[in-house]
């Protein structure tokens, strides 16, 4: 009887040790990854002056990251604005406050939906492409090849993509907001018959340039940095196999979504929670 209990206890202790070992390893690995990501970011930021020397690299990336996303962002913005207007009208007409429709649409778009939805779309459209591209470059050893030729791949490949994403996000977010407001205008004023005078004037009364529009731009800049950083780092850090690249692409989109929504809460609390 006694040896049986003994064996049982030993196995219990072993399971417990394994359990804690797993937690410890996970923690250490994620900390290591965070550290790598941080060094990677600093390295990419130092590539800024190399980009100034060769702006064509940045322009090419602005095209693939920014220009190709315009259509997606503007169509989404149009529909988001239209839906906001439709839903807002239903609620506001219960209170006889249809004139506030413009404020409602513009405030939600400028403060929240513009930066956040654009960032989510951006991570799906451009972030995943960046991760896959860089991951494949790593898998086919193009990055190692560059290193062999004494070309710094982070400065030559990563930095232009990083700064292109950083620059594109505020621009795309402005397009999203403007198109969304216009979409809300078409539905609210065109279809639902809200008067266009109060629609615009109440909007202008309530939306402040510094408090709302500028903060929205800051938000989108932060989201652009976060999303692009995650995308290029996941690509650079991926396992150089087909599966590794696919995992990295998935992670890039998922982490971006978490990071955007989480940092949005923090930024909103800092900006609007006076």
């Amino acid at each position: 009887m006694a040896p049986k209990i003994d064996r049982y206890l030993t196995s219990l202790v072993q399971t417990g040790q394994n359990y804690f070992q797993n937690i410890g390893r996970e923690t250490l690995e994620s900390l290591q990854k965070l550290g790598r990501a941080m060094l990677f970011l600093l390295h990419a930021l130092t590539g800024f002056k190399d980009i100034l020397g060769r702006p064509r690299l940045l322009v090419a990336q602005l095209y693939s990251v920014g220009v190709l996303t315009i259509l997606l962002v503007s169509v989404s913005g149009l529909f988001v604005g239209m839906v906001l207007s439709l839903q807002g009208f239903n609620v506001l007409s219960d209170f006889g406050a249809e004139e506030s429709l413009g404020v409602m649409v513009a405030a939600s778009l400028v403060r929240e939906l513009g930066p956040v939805v654009t960032a989510l779309l951006f991570s799906g459209r451009a972030g995943s492409a960046l991760t896959a591209e860089i991951g494949l470059m790593k898998a086919t050893e193009q990055l190692s090849g560059m290193e062999m030729m004494a070309v710094d791949p982070i400065k030559r490949i990563i930095a232009p993509r990083f700064f292109a994403g950083l620059l594109s996000m505020p621009l795309l977010s402005s397009i999203f907001t403007a198109v969304g407001v216009l979409g809300g205008y078409f539905v609210g004023v065109g279809l639902l018959g809200v008067d266009h005078g109060p629609f615009w004037s109440q909007m202008q009364n309530q939306i402040d340039f510094r408090d709302d529009v500028l903060n929205s731009l800051i938000k989108s800049l932060v989201f652009g940095m976060v999303v692009t950083w995650i995308a290029v780092f996941e690509g650079y850090d991926s396992l150089p196999t087909a599966e590794g690249v696919s995992r990295a692409t998935t992670r890039s989109v998922v982490y971006s979504a978490f990071a955007v929504l989480g940092s949005d809460f923090v930024l909103t609390a800092l900006m609007f929670g006076d």
Partner: protein
């Protein structure tokens, strides 16, 4: 080479489009467009006993037309008053210098704004002038308590006519039988008024009559039912 040219053109289109969108958002959606006419505007100051929920950038309206915005709200720690700096748009240069300012509420529970009522003076307000005639914000709790207090007083004074008083409590039925309670009530209201407005000391008859004028001009009502008309607002 041709391909890069096309790419550069597209990037140029992208950036232009985005800047146009930003311009649209700034000018049409937000209030930045208003700052275009900021020069030439002037500041006018007013002291209030209580500003209620007035916020910076709240509209200043005269006859329902927005003539300016609240620039700054500060506190005068000598007289314990709120000091409100109002920026009046340059279009409105001919406001009389005995204009009175009162803090009003848009809608039942809407945001508060400053309503200006023109006086009859020949001189106009200039930059840095102070509006002397002010009326504080209505505090809902004070109104309710005043109303309840008055009602209790009325009931005590005249049990018989309590129905009529409750029904049309906007009018002070000054009949000989209720003259004394009304008198005491009037004193009471005077106290309440000076409590909400510390500048108005009853010792200064000129000031209080001015205030009375301001109250009357902003709320055209018979003098006897002065404070009652507050309760109705």
């Amino acid at each position: 080479m041709q391909a890069t040219r096309a790419i550069e053109i597209w990037v140029g289109v992208f950036v232009t489009l985005a800047l146009l969108a930003l311009f649209f958002v700034a000018m049409e959606v937000s209030n930045l467009g208003e700052f275009r006419s900021a020069h030439g505007s002037y500041l006018v100051q007013a002291h209030f006993g209580n500003i209620g929920g007035l916020k910076v950038r709240a509209p200043i309206s005269m006859a329902g037309v927005t003539v300016g915005r609240v620039e700054r709200i500060s506190f005068d720690d000598k007289n314990y008053e709120a000091v409100v700096d109002m920026r009046i748009d340059p279009t409105f240069q001919t406001l009389p210098d005995d204009t009175s300012a009162s803090i009003l509420t848009a809608g039942l529970l809407g945001e508060q704004y400053i309503g200006l009522t023109a006086g009859g003076s020949e001189d106009y307000l200039k930059d840095g002038d102070k509006i002397e005639l002010t009326q504080s914000a209505m505090i809902l709790e004070q109104l309710v308590s005043k109303f309840l207090f008055n009602k209790a007083e009325d009931n005590k004074g005249d049990k018989k006519s309590s129905d009529t008083v409750a029904k049309d409590n906007g009018q002070d039925a000054v009949s000989p039988s209720t003259s004394e309670p009304v008198e005491s009530k009037a004193q009471n209201e005077q106290q309440n008024l000076s409590a909400t407005r510390p500048t108005v000391h009853t010792a200064k008859p000129v000031r209080s009559s001015k205030v009375q004028k301001a109250v009357n001009s902003s709320h055209p009502a018979p003098t006897s039912s002065k404070t009652k008309s507050h309760a109705k607002h």
